[in-house]
Structures are given as structure tokens and as C-alpha cells.
Amino acid sequence: METIVQVRDLQKSYGHVRAVDGVSFDIPVESCFGLLGPNGAGKTTTIEMMEGILTPSGGQVLFRGKPIDRHFKEKVGIQFQSTALPEFITVKETLEMFRAFYPDPRPMDEVIDICSLADIISRDNRKLSGGQRQRLLLALAIVPYPEIVFLDEPTTGLDPQARRNFWKLIERIRLEKTTVVLTTHYMEEAQLLCDRIAIMDHGRILELDTPENLLAKHFEGVVVRVPAGAEGNETMELVTSNLDETMKSLLAEQTNLDGLSIHKPNLEDLFIKLTGSSLRS
């Protein structure tokens, strides 16, 4: 498959701190690529180097086989993790301003339709809710008909409903064959949206594959959790491909099964297995 972005041994140091410590990967065109990791893993630094916002300390980013040039900005859509919007102007005026920045912008009606902005179109930017803000920021990102969209933790801080709505928007954008790169620390989001996932921690990539392959590679069977310890305040975790045998042996050992849970392993389990820490800690 054709590659749109190639990342080669990318590094970024701040003094003695290596925020990104040599990461390499390819992003196939029209795919959705997820960078997964806890806070401070180097996700934002990596994505901002890919966006051309940060200058790498080492390595390089190639866009369609060539280093990023000055026309790159006309072809990408970017949504940063935290961005203030210009104050005292409305959603529509903000969109109009950004449309003026690009040589061939998307028509206003189309932007409003895709991101469901009709209800809030004449609202002052300062009066938007979290979900509305993210929708506007995404709208700004898609104004130039981008070939690739970078979304840095687009759903962090949103309530579950708003998060689900946002996922629908991303799926809508993907219908236009736009490549999407997103960072997140929500497993569910990565599993649902992404074709390929890179799990990052301490500036390095620990694993890189499709969600299915990652899970198949690391887990056979299901995860069984039972309370353990004298007061039952610890958790014992078993991964088994033979649930029947496991249950029988647990019963044979007279384990207290109150609070038992069985589930198919997900990316969160994988993350804990790989890093020894919970994603959101």
C-alpha cells in the first residue's frame, strides 16, 4: 500500500531529556494511525514533529517521499491538544478567517454540515462547550481539503456522548479518503477508529501493528480477574486459553469468586502488560 508519511529515527531532546528517542514508522495512505500512550510518553512531541511544528533533534519526516516543504501546510489539517480560539468573534467568522488562509478552501456549507456546526454558527467562540470547541477545531482542520489530518488527543476531557459524536465525525472524514493520525489515551477510541496502532512510552515505540494482531500476538484466550490478598483488596490476573480448566482449578483451590470478572483482552490489558503501568496513571 502507498505510504503518505514516513517517520525515520525521529528524535527530540530538551536538554538532557529525550522526549522522543528514535521512532520510525510508515503511515499508509487513507489509513487511520493511532499513537497510544500515557501522558508524557512523547505522543504530542512526535505528532508535532510530523506536523512540521517542532523541529526534530534528529531523524526525519517524509511526506509523500519528500521532506516537508512550504506547501505542506496547504495540504494538512491540524488540531492541537490545547488551542485558544480568537476571542469576540463567532464560529462563522472564525471559519471565514481560516477559509481566507487557504488557496482553495472547502465551501462554508460543507464545513458546517460535516462538523454539525449549524446550531452554534453565530455563537461567540468564548461561549462554546468542550464538545462544540472540538467540533469547531476539527472544522478548521478540514477547511483546506487536507490529504492528512493530525488530531492530538481530540476527545480528552469530553463526556462519553460528545466523544462518541466526535468519533462519528472522524469516520465521516475518513469516507473522503483522508488519512488520519491521532493520539489518544483512550483504548476504546484507538480500537474503534485506528487501522494501525503504535504504543509509545518513554519516547519509544513498544509495539506497532493492527489492534487485532497486537492482541493476538500477546494474548491467547481471555483475561480472568479474581480478588486476592488477605482482605481481597488486590487483584490476581490470569490469562488463559482454556477457561474451563482455569475455573475448575480456581474452585478446587477454594478461591473466593466474589468479584470475578472475565473479559476478552483489550488494548488496555496489552498496555499494562507492556509497560507495567496503567494508561491513565
Partner: protein, 336 residues
């Protein structure tokens, strides 16, 4: 150009809709001008002030009685040309000038105090002096003050409206978002500066015209020259703001540094008080401030009727300083 227009529009709307800042920019200088106009509308303790050009009492025994009148303040000008002192008479800052060497006295026939003090002089033995008439309208303090207040308002509006706002944009990520678009730093900065230029020129005209309606300022020069020096001064102060805006990302630090610059300008540029009598060192420092050149040139135009040639040194200084500051700002500028 499309990008420039879009950002110009957004920034200008931001200013107009931010009602607090908008009214502050308009009302503060107006209140200040009126406040000073009323506060300084009275005169000093003495009823009359007489300037004496040469010598003193011993050369004029026949004036002894006149010179002893306590209600008259006598100001001596030992080594000043007669014409300079007479100029003060024309402006009603003096009620009479005595030139004892030439045995002459000057009165301003347009001053209500003139005939009275002339009678007093005649009654106390000054009959042998030759009478000279001059004419001229008074300069009130408020005539002198209004360029200072407008200049000060311009300075705040330019420094904070450009410098502070761009620093805030940098801190809260607006600049970062713009950096991710095809907009160039130059387009962004010129749009900000142009928006502010239009806003400050408009507010300055509004404040001047609004207060002039009631206070009828003295205007002996051309409004065109006044507009020219105003526009150049605003550009220069916007450039000062841009230098601040080029790198800083802390609003607190920016605010502190701006106060460090604006406070000496208010004091040394003669906004409220003339610096004629201040130490030469201070006067030399004040030459480096754009506000000094604005107050100096605009007062020269309004009060002395100075033409373009007379304000040319100020124009030249402001242009050179503006270009230099813009270059510095361009070299230093960073989105983040």
C-alpha cells in the same frame, strides 16, 4: 492580501466587541482632559504677573512703589531676549513685560488684565515708560495638555493592544494554530499592526474632536500636519509593541516590562508638566522617546503654528526609530 484582510477584520472586530477595552480607550483620555481642564481653570495666588527683562529695582527708582506691590508677582528674565518674554505675554502667561533698559512696557490688549495693570503702573509712577501693544490669545493649561493626554493614550493602546495581545496569543496557542496554516508571520504581524493603527488613529481623532467641541483648543497650525505626526507616532509606538511581542510568552513579564517603558515616557516626555526646567540629562534621555517627539511636535503645531519644516526633525526621528524597531521585531519574531 486575502489572508491579511481576514486577520485585519478579526482583530478589529475583537477590539470593537471587547466593550470594556473599547470604552476604556475612549473614555479614559476624555475624562482626563476634562478633569484637568476644570482642575487648572483657576490661577495662582498672585493677581498679576509681570515679567522684567533687564536689571532690577535699582535701575528704576521711579518704579519702586510699583515693584513693591505684593499682589503682583515679578519674574525676572536676566539673560533672555525680549521677544521670548513678550511671547509669554502674548499667550497670557504674563500680564505685562517691563523692559527697563529700553524704558518700555508691553501689554496685551486682548488680555482683560492688561488695562488694569496698566492703570496700576500709571498710578505708581511708571508714566515715563514707553507703551508697546501686543496681541494674542491665551494658552490655557488644557490647550497644552491635550496632546500629552492623547499621546499617552496612544502609547498605552499601541503597546498593550499590539504587544500584550500577541503575547497572549502566543501563550494560549492562537499563534501556534496560525503557524500551522499557510499564513506567514509577516502577514500576521502587519495585519495586527494595521488594525491597531486604524483603531488608534480613529480613537485619537474621536477624543480630540470630542473634547474640542467643548473646550475649543487653540489651533494655530494645520490639521494635516497634526494628523501626520499622530500617525507616525502611532506607527512608532506600535513598533515598540511589536518588539515586545516578538518573543515573550509571559503576560506578567510583558506587563512589567511595558510599565518599565511607559512610566519613564509619561514622566520624561512632558505629558502633564513641561520639562523646560529639568536637568539636561533627563532632557537628553527624553529625546529617545517617541512620545516626546509627539508632544513636542503637536504642541508646536497647535500652539506656535509650526509648519512641516519646523516639525521635520521630529518626523525624521520617528521614521528612523520606526524602521529600526520594525527590523528588530522582524529579526526577533517567533511564533512560539
Amino acid at each position: 492580501m486575502k489572508q491579511f484582510a481576514a486577520m485585519f477584520k478579526a482583530r478589529t472586530m475583537e477590539f470593537v466587541r471587547d466593550r470594556g477595552t473599547f470604552f476604556w480607550n475612549l473614555l479614559f483620555p476624555i475624562v482626563l482632559v476634562f478633569g484637568f481642564a476644570f482642575a487648572f481653570s483657576g490661577r495662582g495666588q498672585e493677581l498679576f504677573t509681570v515679567g522684567i527683562v533687564t536689571g532690577a529695582s535699582e535701575t528704576a527708582p521711579d518704579l519702586l512703589h510699583f515693584l513693591e506691590i505684593e499682589q503682583i508677582e515679578f519674574v525676572e528674565y536676566p539673560s533672555v531676549a525680549t521677544e521670548t518674554v513678550v511671547e509669554r505675554l502674548r499667550r497670557h502667561q504674563l500680564d505685562m513685560v517691563l523692559d527697563l533698559e529700553q524704558s518700555e512696557y508691553y501689554v496685551n490688549v486682548e488680555s482683560p488684565n492688561g488695562p488694569i495693570i496698566e492703570m496700576v503702573l500709571g498710578a505708581t509712577g511708571g508714566v515715563e515708560l514707553e507703551r508697546r501693544e501686543v496681541t494674542g490669545e491665551p494658552i490655557r493649561y488644557v490647550d497644552w495638555l491635550v496632546p500629552g493626554v492623547i499621546g499617552m493614550n496612544m502609547m498605552f493602546s499601541c503597546l498593550f493592544g499590539v504587544g500584550f495581545v500577541i503575547v497572549r496569543y502566543r501563550k494560549n496557542g492562537v499563534l501556534k494554530r496560525l503557524k500551522a496554516t499557510p499564513v506567514s508571520a509577516l502577514t500576521f504581524v502587519t495585519a495586527q499592526a494595521a488594525s491597531r493603527l486604524v483603531i488608534v488613529v480613529a480613537t485619537s481623532i474621536f477624543v480630540f474632536a470630542g473634547t474640542d467641541l467643548f473646550l475649543k483648543f487653540m489651533m494655530n497650525g494645520s490639521y494635516l500636519n497634526l494628523l501626520l505626526i499622530t500617525t507616525l507616532s502611532i506607527l512608532c509606538m506600535i513598533s515598540v509593541g511589536l518588539v515586545f511581542a516578538s518573543r515573550l510568552r509571559s503576560e506578567e513579564l510583558t506587563s512589567g516590562l511595558m510599565n518599565l517603558v511607559t512610566l519613564p515616557m509619561i514622566i520624561l516626555s512632558g505629558v502633564f508638566f513641561s520639562l523646560e526646567g529639568s536637568p539636561p540629562v533627563m532632557q537628553r534621555i527624553a529625546r529617545a522617546f517617541p512620545l516626546t517627539h509627539f508632544t513636542e511636535a503637536s504642541r508646536a503645531i497647535m500652539l506656535d503654528g509650526a509648519g512641516f519644516l519646523e516639525i521635520l526633525p521630529n518626523v525624521f526621528f520617528l521614521v528612523v526609530l520606526t524602521v529600526a524597531l520594525l527590523l528588530i521585531a522582524a529579526l526577533l519574531f517567533k511564533w512560539e
